[in-house]
Amino acid sequence: MASEDHSHGGSVFANVTQATEDPILGVTVAYNKDPSPMKLNLGVGAYRTEEGNPLVLNVVRRAEQLLVNDPSRVKEYLPITGLADFNKLSAKLIFGSDSPAIQENRVATVQCLSGTGSLRVGGEFLARHYHERTIYIPQPTWGNHTKVFTLAGLSVKTYRYYDPATRGLNLEGLLADLSAAPSGAIVLLHACAHNPTGVDPTLEQWEQIRLLMRSKGLLPFFDSAYQGFASGNLDADAQSVRMFVADGSECLTAQSYAKNMGLYGERVGALSIVCGSADVAVRVESQLKLVIRPMYSNPPIHGASIVATILKDREMYHEWTIELKAMADRIINMREQLFDALRAKGTPGDWSHIIKQIGMFTFTGLTSEQVTFMTTEYHIYMTSDGRISMAGLSSQKVPHLADAIHAAVTQH
């Protein structure tokens, strides 16, 4: 009985221990505490401008102005499934507006709390309604995936993905591990810009994965957090998903607008389940509501309204694609600059993966000792797996980072 415990003054919460900081978000916490003027935050994947500032897209500001200044807007509860327009437009964005799955009403889409919320709701749904309760996640993957799926009620296994020797894809290992998975198992796939490695399968490799999964009846669960951010082109970045849907397969897709629309803190995303028939999709949607209602009742309106405003307006959509490409291009430029800087310094090792990897992150290959060294001596903050967010880098900081990497690699 807690009241008999005097070591904590008789608190009922005596056995509650201090949790460690989240490894990814904790990097920013540590960065904020650092007083050094040289410090650089390459931890969390949030875009920064060349000046090192957060960015709110112009088109987002415009959409927000329209919303806030519209006297007819109210704040009534959204339906449990969220804003209907937003859901339709999100499905079109990822699957393509001409997708037969959409035209045949086979897609159940629900607005969720960004990518995390979409993954969690999808995981809970599968844990309740799907006969296979194991999900295979790539090794490595985003740090939060395991916890999300475990708390959703699934058991988590891994498949080989990253090959440290080539700093590329271990396709053979991937195919072998998925082959060995039980028929019908769930497989988490990063739609593009794999986090943390930046290593994506080519289209040919995606095709091999697709065929294997189809033959084993494995259920794809796509995590799409970077559509438009990887290549700069929204359709190109959705190719993997569309390829799977094109053969009529069922799949789940978690979409996030955190990065590609810069709506991080608004928590905007969507879960889509592509079903075998329209009738199944209706029933699936009804069951998704039962997952959501006891979790948070219905989703937040603000961010979803911004997205819907932009996606449904031709001109605003176009402006968005331009701003999105500019962000993606700046990141590609940072990759080139860092690569050039390391090459100019003669830093030992092959650093070409910096320009081959895709999306916000570079999996540097640095060890955790080297990472600690870079933080302590150079005030550079990143996750201990050696992942750096290129989005947090600017031209003027490249030399500092190159120095730090050089020192870490030559001294450790």
Partner: protein, 457 residues
């Protein structure tokens, strides 16, 4: 590996249409993995799809509509011009329009002018929001706050905050159960079920008196195992509108202390019950003053009209600041795999309104207007019922009940009659939302209630 290659070889992109049966025979997967006709190149689109009995989710059944939120859906489908929505507890003006508070509009304009960024909030939410929220609930000068003993984490309105608390209870108090009032808000049970927290009910509503079954409540709380969590509605009990008196709250606190129970308040109507924010928090403050550790789930949906922004908080009042810090760290650990971090917009609105003395005062006035309108409507409804009903039934419970709702005492069949015959939408437990009632509709409602009560069994 070789079997994978063999399967791949069989499904080469250039293959022309393979029927489902052919696929099954060659690769040997069963019907339930149901893959469909595959036609054409891999990178192209299929021009037709077949989906009979082939979905993995074929066995998924149709879920029933939500008993509360589903009422609004049904209302929207009704084309009758007399229809009235007394389902969900969302405030309406006398013209039966949704209401965005003036202070909220002002705050949003300020936020737009400032051009704030949209970076991720910390997992525990907006610090400024958490601070004003705890102060609103407990009073800024509350020793618990000054001693750093209150751990506040921004949550997704009331539901999300309750869910975080439930997840925390499940993890740290796996042998404990939650006692919930009979009746209570319909979603409470769902939240605890999904969080896998066992619950049982304590008597609350007495249909004979249409009031509080105080003795039953005390007896049931006493009978529960020591160290149970007791879910209490801070004010404006939902669905009954029946609140304990201050004296009764003291006795409830006595029993809870005796049994080492942990009070767990759901505060969704602070300001809406009496019109006074401080008065409506007095039950919570009473318990805190006794030095009890407790949980409080707070919502700004109703009192700031921020329904769709999903803004609330879970507060845990602990015996020490060290404990509060540890508890907060564990709440964060539960939030991260659920949604990572909470939405920023509603939090900023609250921080701007509650944190600014002028806007806060203005808010208090709007709050009084809203609560006042509901009191007026109660009065009118009571008068209509008393005048029109010749049976001598005592309708005074309408006046005694507090907050947005009235528990009419109508049973399911009678509630159905309200909807089917009178196009009045309400929840099947007999609860009506007075927030959705206008003075001009009171007479019609009175007629419907009298008819349903006397002519339907």
């Amino acid at each position: 590996m070789s079997s994978a290659m063999a399967s791949v070889a069989l499904l080469t992109p250039s293959a022309t249409s393979l029927s489902l049966r052919e696929n099954s025979k060659r690769i040997g997967f069963g019907k339930k993995h149901g893959h469909l006709l595959f036609k054409g190149k891999a990178s192209g689109r299929v021009s037709m799809t077949v989906a009979v009995n082939t979905s993995r989710f074929e066995g998924v059944t149709m879920a029933p509509p939500d008993p509360i939120l589903g009422v609004s859906e049904a209302f929207r489908s009704d084309t009758n011009e007399l229809k009235l929505n007394l389902g969900v507890g969302a405030y309406r003006t006398e013209e039966l329009q949704p209401y965005v508070l003036n202070v909220v509009k002002k705050a949003e304009k300020l936020m737009l002018e400032r051009g704030e960024n949209k970076e991720y909030l910390p997992i525990e939410g907006l610090a400024a929001f958490n601070k004003v929220t705890a102060e609103l609930l407990l009073g800024a000068d509350n020793p618990a706050i000054q001693q750093g003993r209150v751990s506040t984490v921004q949550g997704l309105s009331g539901t999300g905050s309750l869910r975080l608390a439930a997840a925390f209870i499940q993890r740290y108090f796996p042998d404990s159960k939650v006692l919930i009032s009979s009746p209570t808000w319909g979603n409470h049970k769902n939240i605890f079920n999904d969080a896998r927290v066992p619950w049982s009910e304590y008597r609350y509503f007495d249909p004979r008196t249409v009031g509080l079954d105080f003795e039953g409540m005390i007896a049931d709380i006493k009978a529960a195992p020591d160290g149970s969590f007791v879910l209490l509605h801070g004010c404006a009990h939902n669905p009954t509108g029946i609140d304990p008196t201050p004296e009764q709250w003291e006795k409830i606190a006595d029993v809870i202390q005796e049994k080492n129970h942990i009070p767990f308040f759901d505060v969704a109507y602070q300001g809406f019950a009496s019109g006074s924010l401080d008065e409506d928090a007095s039950s919570v403050r009473l318990f805190v003053k006794r030095g009890l550790e407790l949980l409080v789930a707070q919502s700004y949906s109703k009192n700031l009209g921020l329904y769709a922004e999903r803004i609330g908080a879970i507060n845990v009042v602990c015996s020490s600041s060290d404990t509060a810090a540890r508890v907060k760290s564990q709440l964060k650990r539960l939030a991260r795999p659920m949604y990572s971090n909470p939405p920023v917009h509603g939090a900023r609105v609250v921080a701007n309104v509650v944190g600014d003395p002028n806007l806060f005062d203005e808010w208090k006035q709007e709050m009084e207007l809203m609560a006042g309108r509901i009191k007026n409507v109660r009065q009118r409804l009571y008068e209509n019922l008393s005048q029109k009903d010749k049976s001598g039934k005592d309708w005074s419970f309408v006046l005694k009940q507090i907050g947005m709702f009235s528990y009419t005492g109508l049973n399911k069949a009678q509630s159905d009659n309200m909807t089917d015959k009178w196009h009045i939408y309400m929840t099947k437990d007999g609860r009506i939302s007075l927030a959705g009632l206008s003075l001009s509709k009171c007479e019609y409602l009175a007629d419907a209630i009298i008819d349903s009560f006397h002519n339907v069994n």
